[in-house]
Symmetry: C2
Subunit: 196 residues, 2 copies
């Protein structure tokens, strides 16, 4: 591995975190190198930077392309393939959330829907289905919220995030003004107090 110390530290960290993030060390390191580079990066650069076999780099690039986290960028006068990350950091965050949702949540949503269609054959199954219903409700609510929010342009999104829970004040305030006009959100899953 052959990188300036500051960059190397970050790249090694991404490698270590890889397994927690559901990617492997090489994929993590390769992404880190591309992310920090101020120009498109080719496979040879990566072999040099992270010090693994070329075939391993090729597989990491394929994986990162399947996540749509890097894209091919041809460099004039170069025959080799060069890659960059998505340029805007917010585009990266959006893509990450989208992909993790697709891989970690959607399959479960599908299974839940299937199982909720079936008729329970016992009290035990009836209760289990109730729990599945709760889980289904929460996932639908949260992912539905994100699908909606995700369409906002970045500036609005940042505004919203900066506001944090102060948003609630605005709501209370609006509630007061609009009292009687309806428009209330309905709660799925028992809105009980904190479980402790």
């Amino acid at each position: 591995m052959n990188l300036p110390p500051l960059i190397q530290a970050f790249v090694l960290h991404f490698g270590e975190m890889g397994s927690r993030w559901g990617i492997n060390r090489t994929v993590g390191q390769v992404y880190a190198v591309i992310f920090l580079a101020n120009r498109p990066v080719c496979a040879d650069d990566l072999v040099d930077a992270v010090g693994v076999a070329r075939s391993n780099v090729a597989m990491a690039l394929k994986e990162l392309q399947s996540w749509e986290l890097i894209r091919l960028k041809h460099v004039p006068g170069e025959r080799r393939d060069f890659y960059t990350t998505l340029d805007d950091i917010w585009a990266i965050v959006r893509k990450l959330v989208e992909q993790r949702k697709r891989r970690e949540i959607d399959p479960t949503l599908t299974v839940l829907r299937e199982l909720l269609m079936q008729s329970p054959a016992s009290e035990e199954e009836r209760f289990a289905q109730e729990r599945m219903q709760e889980m289904h409700g929460v996932i639908e609510l949260v992912t539905g919220w994100y699908d909606d929010i995700e369409r906002l342009e970045t500036e609005r999104l940042v505004q919203l995030l900066s506001l944090g829970s102060k948003i609630v004040k605005a709501l209370e305030w609006k509630d007061k003004l609009f009292v009687g006009k309806g428009a209330r959100g309905k709660a799925k899953g028992a809105p009980a107090g904190e479980g402790d």
Copy 2:
């Protein structure tokens, strides 16, 4: 494995998803069984339900306790340890987010802070540090938002989620009323510092 079909299907699914979620198959299956059960569950129940060695169940329980996703619940007249999940589904979601943040994000935040303190020794490092700064800003903004939101009581939280991006209408509206009072959000990629 010895479970009613509906429950078994869910448990097997959780086992398969385990690797994507950063836990192993047994941990996933054990959690699923406890989650769907009508009553506290003991290690023997789990050995029976998921069909793995008792020591494996013990390790899975330890892991789930380290996530604080299950808790010990003593059953009167029983010497064995019984477990339940957190009762409220929202408490579960909150705990999951909290733990994944702790394991998947906080370490990176620490590294980023360290590396951002150092002085770049080259143009290459200077640019890399700029990228790290962008990443740091986004993570601070998003986690800061969550830390804030997370304190809301569940009913309010559900309300907020149900509203989705309609919330923005409320904001625009508030903007209009307060125009001239100086309350605009700014800072693309930059952290905190919102004014109100």
